[in-house]
Symmetry: C2
Subunit: 303 residues, 2 copies
């Protein structure tokens, strides 16, 4: 099953099952993340699909898709996780996952325009994301595997200049409305998180390509690890890292230009397509265009 | 005015004004953070105090205090921010603030027992925290200053072994229910965030002592800086760094032992007092005591 979150108004959303591309059956939950917290959500969703009347089905353009989990309690990201890329750079495989956090405000919809103000080195990071379906505390890998609701995609668009200002990456990774998430959540029964290719394109050019069989820390291991220090709950999102081919790794380094189109693709989930607008770096004290942190359903963020 | 959040049940809280130590007037808001989002909260709180009947006033022990903002949208921490300590270590003052994030689950009440499982190097970090009172996006320092609701305290209890497993500190800084926050929020009109001494004690011994006049990035500057990349909202919390005297800086390094009592103190706010329980490091696959991420009002966390 593929779950989605539809925008129903400037500040409202609704969960849905994707019946086919562009066609959805709304479900009585605020978003896909909230749906996962409902006991027996799976059986209820299947029943709804089975018994739906045709007038309940809606056709929705991608621009009306919210981030698939718009209000996660936690968004945790893993860096340095593609083993083949690490080794081709001559480095050793890490012993522990490198982890950092984002906020719900960081997320953007699968077809939203991403507007960045104040950075001159905006880079791309196509990623598989895993969504938690059950509460996990100090879980082993089997418990974590069983708790995976499903998978989606993200692009951890990164402001490298901010990221490198200090040793802690967070400030370059947490710009509002910069990380598209979606377009759908493919449930774990139909999607193998360790068996897919992750692809990233800039203006149609394939720049990133990695296979999740090469992840040093797979989805279940990541959830298990994280659950040792913090509780994971339904709707929490973990980004699993990005393959080689990011802009800062190129020689010379390459970054997104104003108007570039970023595409992220994984077969079995779909595609993110985000135009990136880059506003000139004005400095903190110069009058700057209003950069409002968008909620999940702000019309202004949509292309 | 001093605002607090009282625990009213296992999962419920209520905002209050502290009339004097241990004595509170409840206010009709879920917690102090939610109160800050109410237009005119200040006038309403003052009116409530002025007109309160004696039967509305409650006496509440510190153990019934929740983290003063139990459900902040964002908790952002600044490291490496006490200029005198940086210089005494022979380093240069930083050009940019080092920032990392915590979750709401990371917070604990002002008198809660802090239980740590899975770390063998638990350290202390007494801090001044600033609480946001108005929405800030790309704000200058004056706007940020005007948006400060008030100040509180935190102890950024850090699991140094986890913190140093990788270059990103986050996993050592985000253990559930490990960062006490409170006991009250002293509003900005009565409290000068750049004019106070921050003190930390372990088992009654003064180990940390710093003055916020030596902050490299003061509260308003920090809020302004952060608001360049993410929107800050009422109830968001920013920890402003810790002075010298942390355990890992001692020779030899010193860490908390099971049963140690950690006290954090700032005149004009009050004191945090937390007993720390350290459970043996069992490893991920060994049967471990249930380490449940506590909500703000879990009775089990209270000493």
């Amino acid at each position: 099953m593929k779950l989605a979150t539809l925008r129903t108004g400037p500040r409202s959303t609704m969960a849905a099952v994707q019946l086919e591309a562009g066609t959805y059956l709304p479900l009585p939950a605020a978003d896909a993340g909230a749906l996962l917290a409902v006991p027996d959500w799976r059986a209820k969703a299947e029943e709804a699909v089975r018994t739906a009347v045709s007038t309940a089905v809606v056709r929705v353009p991608d621009t009306e898709l919210a981030p698939v989990v718009p209000r996660p309690g936690k968004v945790i990201c893993c860096g340095l996780n593609y083993g083949d890329h690490i080794q081709e750079m001559g480095r050793e495989l890490p012993e522990y996952p490198t982890l950092f956090a984002k906020f719900a405000d960081t997320l953007a919809g699968p077809a939203d325009r991403i507007t960045v103000a104040g950075s001159d080195s905006v880079d791309w990071e196509a990623e598989l994301a895993v969504v938690v379906g059950a509460t996990l505390t100090r879980a082993d890998e089997d418990q974590a595997e069983a708790a995976i609701a499903g998978y989606t995609m993200a692009n951890d668009v990164s402001m490298r200049d901010w990221q490198r200002r200090t040793l802690q990456w967070f400030q370059g990774k947490a710009f509002d409305a910069s990380t598209p998430l979606g377009p759908v959540l493919a449930t774990a029964d139909e999607f193998d998180g360790t068996g897919v290719e992750v692809r990233g394109y800039v203006n149609g050019e394939l720049v990133q390509r990695g296979h999740t069989r090469t992840l040093v820390f797979g989805p279940a291991r990541l959830l298990s690890y994280i659950s040792q220090f913090t509780t994971l709950r339904p709707g929490d999102v973990v980004l699993t890292g990005t393959p080689g081919g990011v802009g800062m790794g190129m020689v010379p380094p390459r970054f997104l230009a104003d108007g570039d189109v970023l595409v992220t693709e994984i077969d079995g989930i779909g595609r993110l397509e985000n135009q990136v607008r880059i506003q000139p770096v004005g400095g903190m004290r110069e009058p700057a265009p209003a950069f409002s942190g968008t909620t999940t359903a702000e019309p202004a963020a949509r292309s």
